[in-house]
């Protein structure tokens, strides 16, 4: 299944897709595989994340708030290497999950965009989210992802102009990542009124599914976002829960969130 088909399947159930984020290698590579596995199943073993977002820990994560930055630091201190991310993605794909990678550009640039796309595809990855790469600078990346049949997910923001929404949507495949608030990652009390407006504005430029991320943490918020978006992305809340309660906590949270996308 590719990303489009995952979203299509959710659409047929008249619901949004649930997308969960954790950094690879957090707290260690092996333990992170268990956490991702927990994300796929939920407490009752039936409902989990439709898509998992595998974060690549980076030394200078400018789009991340303190929760994810601390988790990434922990992974790096535990010896995370970029190649471990492919291993983690493989374990998700083997378990029947749909994995996309979220990474800052420098690790990809250093690894080589083509080699990265090739190895991620081989590991069973479906796409890549690049928070600090805009299509304007993405020539090599667009060529590499095209060559290896990988989806490339660019971000749009409430501050994006119509021109930039059009440009970004055109360069994107799989789904468009809409940042719900102006800010960095981190659970928030409210998702922000900007999110619905941004999704609406983006829809005018593309038929691609639109996922909303940044600041979503509870089943209630998931239900709210699922009311206007095709995918709901939850990150920091998973990191916090994983840290506190391990895989069991992740299963509990994913069950709550999965009910959220099905509550309409």
């Amino acid at each position: 299944m590719n990303l489009r088909e995952v979203f299509q399947a959710c659409r047929e159930e008249q619901r949004a897709a649930l997308i969960g984020y954790l950094p690879a290698g957090f707290p260690t590579v092996e333990e992170s595989k268990e956490l991702f596995s927990a994300m796929l199943t939920g407490t009752d073993g039936s409902t989990g994340c439709d898509i998992v977002e595998v974060g690549i820990p980076f030394s200078d994560p400018v789009m991340d708030g303190p929760t994810i930055q601390a988790a990434s630091d922990k992974a790096l201190r535990a010896g995370f290497r970029l190649r471990d991310a492919f291993d983690v993605v493989s374990s998700i794909a083997d378990a029947g999950g749909h994995a996309v990678v979220m990474t800052y550009w420098n690790p990809v640039h250093h690894y080589g965009p083509d080699a990265f796309a090739r190895d991620l595809k081989a590991a069973g990855g479906l796409g890549v989210i690049t928070p600090d790469l805009i299509p304007d600078e993405g020539e090599d990346w667009i060529a590499a992802t095209d060559a290896h049949g990988l989806d490339r997910i660019f971000l749009v923001a409430p501050s994006s102009t119509e021109e930039r929404l059009a440009l970004t949507a055109k360069a994107t495949s799989g789904f468009v990542y809409a940042t719900s608030v102006m800010g960095v990652t981190g659970a928030r009390e409210s998702v922000g009124a900007a999110a619905a407006g941004l999704v609406q504005r983006t829809r005018a430029h593309t038929d691609l599914p639109i996922g909303v991320g940044l600041g979503v943490r509870s089943g209630e918020q998931v239900a709210e976002v699922a009311g206007f978006a095709d995918g709901v992305i939850v990150g920091s809340a998973f990191v916090t829960r994983a840290e506190q309660d391990g895989p069991a906590g992740v299963r509990e949270l994913v069950a709550e969130l999965a009910r959220g996308v099905r509550s309409r």
Binding site: S59, N106, D132, E137, T179
Partner: protein, 422 residues
């Protein structure tokens, strides 16, 4: 020619620019530069680029900036010949461009005034900045006090301790100083934190970047604000010596003072441009900040440039005795100048810089910033290589008051019973 005319010339729009001086419209110097930034910030950078372009053609803006540079910052800065110091440099003539005499004590004020005026034009009311040694933070806090702007300065926790005096200065000037604890708790982490603030508050906040790095239009814009250093120096050297210098030397952390003085001479092929990077405890120790000498191309803080990184593309923490130089990245134009061979880059160790720091203090009665002492140490080596006929222009980018704590510890100056041991 007056400084005002020099400034106006540097900013005149529509003038055909010789190939290689300005980046392309997307901010690329060759393969370097660009905008590797979150989409959320692109609108603000487009706005800044447009406002800057408009300001370059606006006589009122240029006049206002010129007035501030002249009557507030103290431009043009002097050119001082360092005769006794030069005896240690193979007898070559050493000329110091005295950016340390600017208001707030460094070259940083040139850029800060230029950007702060743009902030007013854009109708924003809050300014954020990052600082390592505190020179840029103090300059920013100063301009914000003068122009009635709210000011928040991010500074690595380690640097707030190394530069406690500058923290106090910024607070006195009305700025809020926020110590950053993440990562290495130095300059690069302060930049990360400032970028996060900017993403969150971009609608009313300007990020007043302190060096010629970051994403477009910052490298070009900051360079242009500092080009006045090179333009003045070129004229002053010609007046004093009747010819151009053989070498222009400057320290390079992010690279703003170096790019400013280099640009006054970039069209003079006979003038060597040499940047001196922090060699810390020596390149072989692995503890240094010699990005251009030892780094490889990568992307950090919005631009492709040389970068200290490991074989996994993780950024390596830089080290220098100078809080203003321990940055693992560098401005993209320096990367370009290195690759095309127009500028050379070398490294200077902590010890070499500190010896030059003391030497200039004792021979000329000028206490330089430790940053600038890297360029002075480089000038000693260059002078010894080139001999007594050479003229070496050194950008004395800042004064050393802020570094007295570091120097006192290094030389054992505080304990009077102790002989100077080094």
């Amino acid at each position: 020619m007056t400084v005002g005319a020099e400034t106006a010339r540097a900013h005149r729009p529509g003038k055909p620019v010789p190939e290689g001086h300005d980046p392309d419209e997307r901010g690329h110097f060759g393969v370097y530069g660009g905008r590797f930034m979150p989409e959320a910030l692109i609108a603000a950078q487009d706005e800044l680029a447009a406002e800057y372009a408009k300001a370059q053609g606006d006589p009122q803006y240029l006049a206002e900036l010129d007035d501030l540079l002249r009557n507030y910052a103290g431009r043009p800065s002097l050119l001082t010949e360092a005769k006794r110091f030069a005896e240690h440099a193979g007898g070559a003539r050493i000329l110091l461009k005295r950016e340390d005499l600017n208001h707030t004590g460094s070259h940083k004020i040139n850029n800060v005034l230029g950007q702060a005026l743009l902030v007013k034009r854009m109708g924003k009311r809050r300014v954020i900045a990052e600082t390592g040694a505190g020179q840029h933070g103090v300059a920013t806090a100063t301009a914000c006090a003068l122009l009635d702007l709210e000011c928040v300065v991010y500074m690595g926790k380690v640097d707030t301790e190394r530069q406690a005096l500058n923290v106090a200065r910024m607070r006195l000037l009305g700025a809020e100083v926020i110590p950053v604890n993440s990562g290495s708790a130095t300059l690069k982490d302060a930049i990360n934190e400032a970028l996060r603030d900017w993403v969150t508050n971009v609608d009313h906040t300007h990020y007043l970047l302190g060096t010629a790095a970051g994403s477009h239009p910052f490298p070009m814009m900051v360079r242009n604000f500092h080009k006045v250093i090179g333009d003045e120096a070129r004229r002053q050297v010609l007046e004093l010596t009747g010819r151009l210098p053989d070498v222009v030397a400057a320290c390079v952390g992010g690279g703003s003072n170096a790019i400013g003085i280099f640009h006054g001479f970039i069209d003079d092929p006979g003038v060597r441009l040499v940047g001196f990077e922090p060699g810390g405890h020596g390149i072989s120790s692995g503890e240094h900040g010699a990005t251009l000498c030892e780094g490889t191309p990568g992307t950090l803080h919005g631009a492709r440039s040389y970068l200290l990184q490991d074989d996994d593309g993780q950024v390596i923490e830089a080290y220098s005795i100078s809080a203003g130089l321990d940055y693992p990245g560098v401005g993209p134009e320096h990367s370009y100048l290195k690759d095309i061979g127009r500028a050379e880059y070398r490294s200077i160790t902590d010890d070499e810089a500190m010896q030059a720091f003391r030497l200039l203090s004792r021979t000329e009665g000028i206490i330089p910033a430790i940053e600038s002492a890297h360029a002075l140490a480089g000038a000693i080596k260059l002078g010894q290589e080139l001999g007594p006929d050479a003229i070496i222009l050194v950008n004395l980018s800042g004064r050393g008051d802020k570094d007295m704590d570091t120097a006192a510890k290094y030389f054992g100056l505080v304990d009077e019973s102790k002989e100077e041991s080094r």
